[in-house]
């Protein structure tokens, strides 16, 4: 072996064939390096082994770049791309055509571009749902809540998690509000338009908070309807403030 050839033999330590972290591969893979520079949190992705394998095998130039340009066109800023990709790394396995169809569908339902950008930012999995599923979900909310089209649209823009989460808790909560807590339909609609997070609240916490507010603090239903934020706050905050006010004598 001549001297020149000897120099050309690169004798780095070999890459470990399998590990639990992506640390060992980061220096040798341009894809991973560019992702880290974008702001993607690899320590969270490596907890899902399939995702990590997928990311390693992808080539930055061919696949990832196109999807990133597509997301930028939608309106997601550079510094927000990192958090988005950390949550929804599966978007790299989607077809670009499918993503375009879904965005076109949302636009056909009269969601403006800014609204779509906001929804995608808040609910990263939105673009991974097929058009049928999105259609079903929107239809469900329109029927269940019996709101006008514009109000449903505003609701979904404010809390896009409704479309990506499962529907069972929402159905349960609707039943709870109607039967257990005794609110009328128009009252529920008013509260939801003000505070949409009520629909996804925990059933037990909801009943405990309502029990304290209605029975101990003796606040009637129509006052609660005016300020549905009580269902959003923690119970102990409400309790502390109420006890403080009774201590002052001003309950």
């Amino acid at each position: 072996v001549s001297e020149e050839e000897a120099i050309q033999i690169i004798a780095d330590p070999p890459l470990p064939p399998d590990t639990y972290t992506l640390r060992d591969y980061v220096d040798h893979s341009e894809t991973l390096q560019k992702l880290v520079l974008l702001g993607v949190d690899l320590s969270k992705i490596e907890k899902h082994p399939d995702a990590a394998n997928l990311l390693l095998r992808l080539d930055f130039e061919k696949d990832i770049k196109q999807i990133l340009m597509f997301l930028k066109d939608l309106g997601i800023e550079d510094n927000q791309l990192g958090t988005y990709l950390t949550k929804n790394y599966a978007i790299f396995s989607e077809d670009l055509e499918n993503l375009k169809t879904r965005v076109a569908y949302l636009q056909s339902k009269n969601f403006s571009k800014a609204h779509i950008a906001q929804m995608v930012r808040n609910a990263p999995f939105l673009l991974s749902f097929s058009v049928e599923r999105l259609d079903n979900r929107l239809g469900f909310f329109q029927k269940e809540l019996e709101l006008s089209v514009k109000k449903t649209r505003d609701l979904v823009v404010r809390l896009p998690r409704l479309l990506t989460g499962s529907l069972e808790p929402v159905k349960e909560n609707m039943k709870v509000y109607r039967l257990e807590l005794g609110f009328k339909r128009n009252e529920i609609q008013h509260m939801i338009t003000k505070v949409p997070k009520m629909l996804t609240a925990n059933k037990r916490k909801l009943t405990e908070t309502f029990d304290y507010v209605h029975n101990v603090m003796s606040i009637p239903h129509h006052l609660i309807v005016r300020f549905p934020q009580v269902f959003n706050t923690r119970l102990f905050k409400v309790k502390e403030r109420h006890l403080f006010l009774t201590y002052l004598g001003r309950a």
Binding site: I7, S43, F244
Partner: protein
């Protein structure tokens, strides 16, 4: 940044546990807040690694390849690749408080956990304010249990209550002497008894060193108890037995620990102060007192130290005016 924050985080501090929370949740919440504070520092500058890269040297027809050692920035220890620097802290809990009781809860971080065992072995007394309600009896002695019986309480007066409490204190005094395994015939033991310093230094059942009634407005009454080796359930049972002695029934509506050894309500941190800075300040403020107290309690035989005891925490104090925000307007 992270390691600097961790270096100072060793010692004891007290936290105010609100009622309705399990002590384990309190400990986990405090741990999460501390982790947030420790991991919030700036990321360190990117490291450099030495890599041997091939580079062409010399131009012309003869191109020689040489290896040059260059230091190249590497991302192996970037926080986004490895995760946060600190993922768990070791926090231990002193004397536990059950879910419905509230008050001072002592926690130890890092090397301070060793002091927790010393505190346990020092067998210091604790102060409780217990609020009772006459006329009801439930199965678990507190007012949210299943009702067992109801009775009238018109015949109960303050003098009767004081008499009962004095009886209890007297009987527990005898038990104190018995469990402390001291020979009362010696002069030192007599002096200690005169100053009220006798207490058992090993395992014993619940012992009450002092008990007095602070507030009496039938059906409610408030008593202050100084005790050791107790559980909150036994305190509630004590309220129940007081009711039985008064020929009526009583349940306990609130148990509040106002002092645990040398940590008082003023030292306990409120929920709003459960973050890195306040806890570090609290640890530093409490450190000298902790050291002094443990030295005093765990070094018996040193005569000079025992003769000087300014303000021992278990001297019977006046009724504490800290009625607290959880009481209904008394």
């Amino acid at each position: 940044m992270g390691s600097r924050g961790l270096a100072r985080l060793h010692g004891l501090f007290a936290v105010y546990k609100p009622p309705g929370l399990k002590w384990k949740h309190v400990r986990d919440t405090v741990e999460l807040q501390l982790l947030k504070g420790v991991n919030a520092g700036k990321a360190p500058a990117p490291e450099q690694r030495v890599r041997f890269l091939l580079g062409p040297v010399g131009d012309g027809e003869e191109k020689a390849l040489t290896l040059t050692a260059t230091s190249v920035p590497t991302l192996t220890n970037h926080p986004l690749v490895c995760g946060p620097a600190c993922t768990s802290l070791k926090i231990g809990v002193g004397h536990r408080l059950d879910a419905q009781a509230s008050g001072v809860l002592v926690l130890g971080v890092g090397h301070g956990r060793r002091l927790l065992t010393s505190m346990y072995n020092a067998h210091l007394t604790k102060d409780y304010t217990v609020r009772g309600l006459l006329g009801k009896a439930t199965d678990d002695f507190c007012d949210e249990g299943r009702l067992v019986e109801k009775s009238t309480y018109d015949h109960v007066t303050r003098e009767k209550l004081d008499r009962i409490l004095a009886l209890i204190q007297g009987s527990h005094q005898k038990a104190l002497v018995m469990y402390s395994s001291l020979d009362l015939q010696t002069q030192e033991a007599y002096e200690m008894a005169v100053r009220g310093l006798i207490r058992p230094m090993n395992k014993s059942p619940m012992l009450v060193t002092a008990i007095q009634c602070i507030h009496f407005a039938p059906p409610e009454f408030l008593i202050q108890v100084q005790c050791m080796h107790e559980t909150q359930k036994q305190l509630r049972r004590l309220v129940h037995e007081i009711g039985l002695e008064l020929k009526t029934t009583a349940v306990c509506s609130q148990v509040r620990r106002t002092r645990d050894g040398f940590f008082t309500l003023d030292d306990a941190l409120l929920r709003t102060h459960w973050d890195l800075h306040s806890i570090e300040d609290a640890i530093q403020a409490a450190a000298p007192r902790v050291a002094a107290e443990l030295e005093r309690s765990l070094g018996p035989g040193l005569g000079t130290q025992q003769l000087q005891d300014p303000g021992r925490p278990w001297d019977s104090r006046g009724p504490s005016s800290a009625l607290g925000l959880e009481s209904c307007a008394g």
